[in-house]
Amino acid sequence: MKVIQLHKNEPELIKRAIKNNREAQQVLFELYAPRMLSICRYYIKDIQHAEEAMLNGFFKVFFNLKSFNNKGSFEGWIRRIIVREAISFLRSKKNIEFITDEIEHYNNYTNNIKTEIEVEHIQQLIDALPEGYKMIFIMYAIEGYKHHEIANMLNITEGTSKSQLFKARKLLQGKIKELNKTTSYGTN
């Protein structure tokens, strides 16, 4: 009963979490971690690394919870932190090149199982993108960031962001066309 009540009262949970109440922190973590891990997974192919990035993000969430002030969506606030964490994780692992040449051939997936598999297909398509394309595509198309925000976060120009997005789209479309030829994907 207590947990259910806590779930309903998010501001109260946040208040407690600010006071380093582990129980409240755990409830918040369990509430948002699966979504946030999925987001990390957009950017990071390795699930363990994705989880690492997510935990780093949550650590920062709880560490800076005082500065949240209940303004806007709490999920949105966590999400921004997690995305930044995922990007910085990628950057720490390797130097990202915002390449302009063609990418390697993408392996076709012929699985025709609904939703779950479809999502996996999408994820694999995204995973196959070069890091530079991938980050910008996810940030723009899925996270809904504007080009100037992306440029600011990745320390690139808006032009680079736009060109990378254009190329990512082109690449993905090609791959999806290929997929559609072999499967029924994308017809709906």
């Binding site: 971690a33 891990l37 999925s38 699930i47 939703t115 999502v119 899925i142």
Partner: protein, 254 residues
């Protein structure tokens, strides 16, 4: 439009996805948070210590500063009123001196008269003579003072002459008393010396040429007088008792 449609499609699908973190994910995070709190606690402790020491230093510093300020201020406060009131005190002092001179003269007469009356007629005459001498001496001193005001350079030598003259006067008085075979008691000698001292002190204290009285000397004098008051009271009491005994003896002899 195609890419946007495609993006909306994949966005919708990806948004629905959730990935359950590993079983020990929360434990990892919890441990990290725990460690961080310890660090924070230690940091807070250190900061608190540093803050407390700074506050302590500031308090001590301010206290010292205050003390210094007080030390610096107090003398200023003390000095100014003295400067302002000096003229007034001078006036009062000069008045007091006049009074004391009058009183001392009266005392002299009384003190000189009282033993002389009791002893013999001759001594009375001599006492009157001594009075005259004293008066003359005073006149001399006044003249000398007037002279001093005219000739301030000779002040020191005149002061010396005044003092020596006083000594001579006292010695002469005692000699006179001895010559006339009267009993010269220690009290009378003391009284004579005290009077002479007073006069000398007054002479020193009051500088007629400038009309300024030395405040410190005046204060000393007053203090001495206060001390003496008890002594003189005792002397008076002794004298009175002595006189009563003497008169009784004299009357019996008659």
């Amino acid at each position: 439009m195609a890419p946007i449609k495609f993006e909306e499609n994949i966005k919708e699908k990806l948004e629905k996805r959730t990935i359950k973190p590993s079983a020990n994910a929360w434990n990892k995070l919890s441990e990290r948070l725990e460690r961080q709190e310890e660090k924070r606690g230690n940091k807070a402790f250190w900061w608190l210590g540093i803050a407390a020491s700074i506050v302590g230093v500031l308090l001590v510093g301010s206290q010292l500063f205050k003390n210094n300020a007080l030390e610096e201020v107090i003398p200023k406060i003390v000095i100014r009123p003295v400067d302002v009131k000096q003229d007034e005190t001078n006036k009062i002092a000069t008045k007091k001196i006049e009074n004391t001179i009058e009183i001392s003269e009266e005392k002299k007469i009384k003190e000189d008269k009282s033993p002389n009356q009791i002893i013999k007629k001759k001594t009375i005459i001599k006492a009157s003579l001594t009075q005259e001498n004293l008066l003359v001496a005073q006149e001399n001193t006044q003249q000398k003072l007037n002279q001093k005001s005219l000739k301030p350079k000779k002040e020191v030598s005149e002061n010396l002459t005044f003092e020596t003259q006083k000594i001579q006067d006292v010695v002469a008085q005692i000699k006179n008393l001895k010559d006339k075979n009267t009993v010269v008691t220690n009290e009378t000698i003391d009284a004579l010396l005290a009077e002479a001292q007073k006069e000398i002190a007054l002479e020193k204290m009051y500088n007629e040429s400038t009309g300024v009285v030395d405040a410190n000397l005046l204060l000393q004098d007053v203090e001495i007088e206060l001390d003496q008051s008890f002594r003189t009271k005792v002397f008076k009491a002794l004298k009175e008792s002595f006189i009563t005994v003497k008169t009784a003896v004299a009357q019996r002899n008659d």
